[in-house]
């Protein structure tokens, strides 16, 4: 069976885990460290790409260049988000001058390694981090691995998810699924507790990372994980604790924060972070560090008490209350209906954050999950399942944000309400308003507010090819499809004539498909490979996966099929084996499909056998509204 990775692509740190012998394990670097800083260094004299992780930090201290950190904040977001960070004073990067469609892309200015500069997107930075994790896993496993489940904040919108998926593709990964971070954490936690015989109930996952906050209400019961509601803030995290402290460090060294150079800001942030971490189990600390000012290296000390720290971060921590409230209301629950509150994310180590969770939910939070590793572990478990592993696990997730279309007067017409189970679809029918009209424009938005300008613009698209009829006679049914990754696709059909009309989607933020293709072509890994050849290889991998699953099913549950059925399955499997040796992709495709069909009944019987009893116990309490 092909292995698949579980990757937690975090704001400050990223991790990779994989299932080995049925157990998920975080893969460590040569120093035994699982966390890889989500940092990329572009050196002035680095012609060959960039340095990632701890190396990136080390390189920044030694040589000239640009160190990019916490760029997850800018995935799938507009230029004004990045500008706002610069305006606030945290000048860790330089923006590339805006192009024609200024707001659509955040681009950083980085050295091109030949004495000049070039533009670089957050997607490219994320791809470097993902590639480093892929390399780590391949070195550890001694084989090539390209399948992966990548986690995203549950509250990520379509553009942010799309950007993450694009980063995976650029890193040479085949993204099996984008999985919500709190859902991944719940899977790891729930399966752990299940092994102890306590895997049932309704839980809140409180996930405060470096840059994002998620809160999800989930039910779990013997391998079934069901998200009831999710909420969050994709611009709230431990990073927000650091900047006010870093400002003090800069002032102490005589540097005005709003004019600090990127490397000074990085140095100050590092001292701030160490101070915050030291105050986790102490009441007062003096943290020493250095700041480079001109040719000088100035020693600075940040002295702080926990009370002072808490006074500084309290307003940030209190911003968690709104999302927590919304998640509970949407789930139709109150804190006393919960069986537990699970803390996830490095920032939940901060005592004030724990105190907040304790007070808000009226109970002692559970801290027995490893806050840094639990998300990657959950992702690896899901990856293993998707790669054909046998695990009684089913995740039913929801879309975090409502999806709508702009109508007259800039008002949002909501098509899919938030917290709807995904995948799902929504269809709206539109009629033409002018005679001979052959095109229509649409604006898709995501968010909870009534007015379009307060929601996130996802895309504008134009329908073309509407048959020219009288006004109101052509009726176009537009279908929105949200897949299991929470990603949106749009299709349209004219109902009177049955014509499929073309949909040209222009994303409001992030890369267009053409830009991603161009980046793929430009990267050396892909340039030489013929597309058709790649598709054939992918098909073969898929075929082998199906064959392995079939063998396993027959071996374990051979008694569930009769002699005839078994013969049919074996014939179909032999046909697939023969086809994998050829180069005829369509033939291989239909052989795999025939094998799928032949094993469908067996798969169904196996599933009924294993999970039948779980459902008999299942009872969902009626929730009073």
């Amino acid at each position: 069976m092909a292995r698949a990775l579980g990757i937690d692509l975090g704001t400050t740190y990223s991790l990779v885990a994989v299932v080995k012998d049925g157990r998920a394990e975080v893969l460590k670097d040569e120093h035994g460290e699982g966390r890889l800083p989500s940092a990329v260094f572009y050196g002035d004299d680095l012609e060959e790409g960039a340095l990632v992780g701890w190396e990136a930090f080390a390189a920044e201290r030694m040589r000239g260049g640009a160190l990019l950190t916490s760029t997850k904040r800018f995935m799938g977001r507009g230029r004004s988000t990045a500008q706002a960070v610069l305006d606030r004073g945290a000048r860790t990067f330089r923006l590339w001058p805006a192009g024609d469609d200024g707001e659509r892309l955040v681009q950083f200015e980085v050295p091109d390694g030949q004495g000049g500069t070039r533009a670089c997107t957050p997607v490219e930075v994320a791809a470097y981090v993902l590639k480093a994790l892929k390399d780590r896993a391949e070195a550890e496993l001694g084989e090539e691995v390209s399948d992966a489940v990548i986690t995203v904040p549950a509250y990520f919108d379509d553009a942010q998810r799309q950007a993450t998926r694009d980063a995976g593709r650029l890193a040479g990964l085949h993204v099996l699924r984008l999985l919500a971070e709190p859902t991944a954490a719940a899977v790891a936690y729930g399966l752990l507790k299940e092994a102890e015989g306590r895997g049932q109930g309704t839980y809140v996952v409180f996930d405060l990372g470096g840059g994002t906050f998620d809160v999800s209400v989930l039910e779990f019961d013997r391998g079934l994980f069901r998200v009831r509601a999710t909420s969050g803030d994709t611009a709230l995290g431990g990073d927000d604790f650091d900047w006010p402290l870093a400002e003090r460090v800069l002032r102490a060294a005589g540097v005005e924060p709003s004019t600090a150079l990127p490397h000074q800001t990085h140095q100050a942030l590092a001292i701030a972070r160490r101070t915050k971490e030291a105050l986790t189990d102490r009441d007062t600390v003096d943290v020493e560090g250095v700041l480079t000012v001109g040719a000088d290296t100035r020693p600075v000390t940040l002295s702080l008490t926990r009370t002072e720290l808490e006074r500084v971060i309290l307003p940030v921590v209190n911003r968690c209350a709104g999302p927590c409230e919304r998640a509970l209301v949407d789930a139709g629950l109150t804190p006393k209906d919960l069986d537990g509150v699970i803390l996830v994310g490095g920032s939940t180590r901060v005592p004030l954050v724990r105190a907040f969770a304790r007070e808000f939910f009226g109970r002692e939070p559970l801290c027995d999950a490893h806050p840094d590793e639990v998300v990657a572990v959950g992702a690896a478990l899901q990856a293993d399942l998707l790669a054909g592993g046998d695990r009684d696990l089913l995740l039913l997730d929801v879309t975090p944000l409502s999806l709508g279309l702009e109508t007259m007067g800039g008002v949002v017409d909501r098509l899919v309400p938030r917290n709807s189970p995904i995948p799902c679809t929504a269809t709206h029918t539109f009629t033409t308003y002018a005679d001979q009209q052959t095109a229509m424009d649409f604006h898709v938005v995501q968010g909870e507010r009534e007015k379009v300008e307060h929601c996130k613009s996802l895309a504008r698209f134009t329908l073309r090819g509407i048959p020219p009829l009288g006004a109101g006679l052509a009726r176009v049914a537009v279908t929105f499809q949200l897949d299991a990754d929470g990603l949106l696709t749009v299709s349209a059909r004219e109902q009177a004539t049955g014509t499929t009309t073309a949909v040209e989607v222009k994303p409001s933020y992030g890369l267009t498909d053409a830009e991603v293709e161009a980046m793929l072509m430009a990267s050396l890994d892909h340039a030489q490979q013929d597309i058709e050849e790649r598709l054939l290889i992918e098909k073969r991998v898929e075929a082998e996966r199906v064959l392995a699953a079939t063998d396993k099913a027959l071996r374990e549950d051979g008694l569930l099929v009769d002699v005839e059925e078994r013969a049919a399955i074996e014939r179909a499997a032999a046909a697939v084996r023969a086809a994998t040796r050829g180069a005829d992709r369509p033939a291989l495709e239909s052989a795999v499909e025939a094998l799928d069909a032949a094993t469908q009944e067996l798969a169904h019987r196996r599933m009924s056998k294993r999970i039948g009893e779980a459902l008999d116990h299942k009872s969902i309490d009626e929730v009073a509204r």
Binding site: L385, L386, G404, C424, D483, V592, A597, H604, L615, K618
Partner: protein
């Protein structure tokens, strides 16, 4: 309702009736697509459209079927098979969204029978607008106005159940416009207006999909 909806299996080419929302082809076992006109009731295992349904019953049907068709179960299968699984589970989730709340379910039944919801009576509209104004001017009266609107919402919902009960029992209760369905449409208009009033006054959403229409 009883019209057959022909579906063709992409693997063995056998034709099946899709009206009962079958999951797999009966002759070869391949996963089937979902017919575009299949009823959400069929997807949730309810033989005939009806208004009176328990939440538990719908929830259980949704979970059972989700377990069978979820795309995660087919991740190692062929692309066509994965597409069918995605289509199956999307249709299932859409059916749940359409039927889970009594208000939405009644709306589906009314629209299905081509009954257009009438406008709210002029008098009722004026009364609602007055209440809204009163609540906006007088914060003390607000809570009682919200409570009152909620109570009326519950009463109208119960009346909706009584109105539709005879149709649930008839074989073809929801196939054509009828006086009970017109009455139901009027009740739905009032329910929506009450829900809007409560929501605007900060009393929360009585109808989950209030904005989706």
């Amino acid at each position: 309702m009883s019209a057959t909806l022909p579906l063709r299996c992409r693997v063995c080419d056998a034709e099946t009736d899709g009206s009962a929302a079958p999951i797999a082809c009966p002759s070869c076992g391949a996963l089937l697509p979902v017919h575009a006109r299949v009823s959400p009731f069929a997807l949730l295992g309810v033989a005939r459209p009806r208004f009176a349904l328990g939440r538990d019953e719908l929830e259980r049907a949704w979970l059972t079927r989700s377990r069978r068709v979820h795309p995660d179960r087919f991740a190692a299968k062929s692309e066509a098979e994965r597409r069918c699984a995605a289509e199956q589970v999307a249709a299932l989730n859409d059916a749940k969204r359409a039927l889970f709340e009594p208000y939405d379910r009644a709306l589906w039944l009314v629209q299905q029978a081509s009954v257009t919801p009438p406008q709210l009576a002029q008098q009722a509209l004026v009364e609602l607008m007055e209440q809204r104004e009163r609540a906006e001017e007088d914060a003390a009266a607000r809570a009682s106005i919200v409570d009152d609107a909620r109570a009326r919402f519950r009463a109208r919902l119960e009346e909706l159940g009584r109105t539709l009960a005879p149709l649930d029992e008839a074989d073809d209760g929801y196939t054509a416009p009828s006086p009970p369905l017109r009455r139901a449409a009027a009740l739905l208009a009032e329910l929506k207006t009450l829900a809007r009033l409560v929501d605007d006054l900060g009393g929360g959403k009585l109808i989950g999909t209030l904005d989706a229409r």
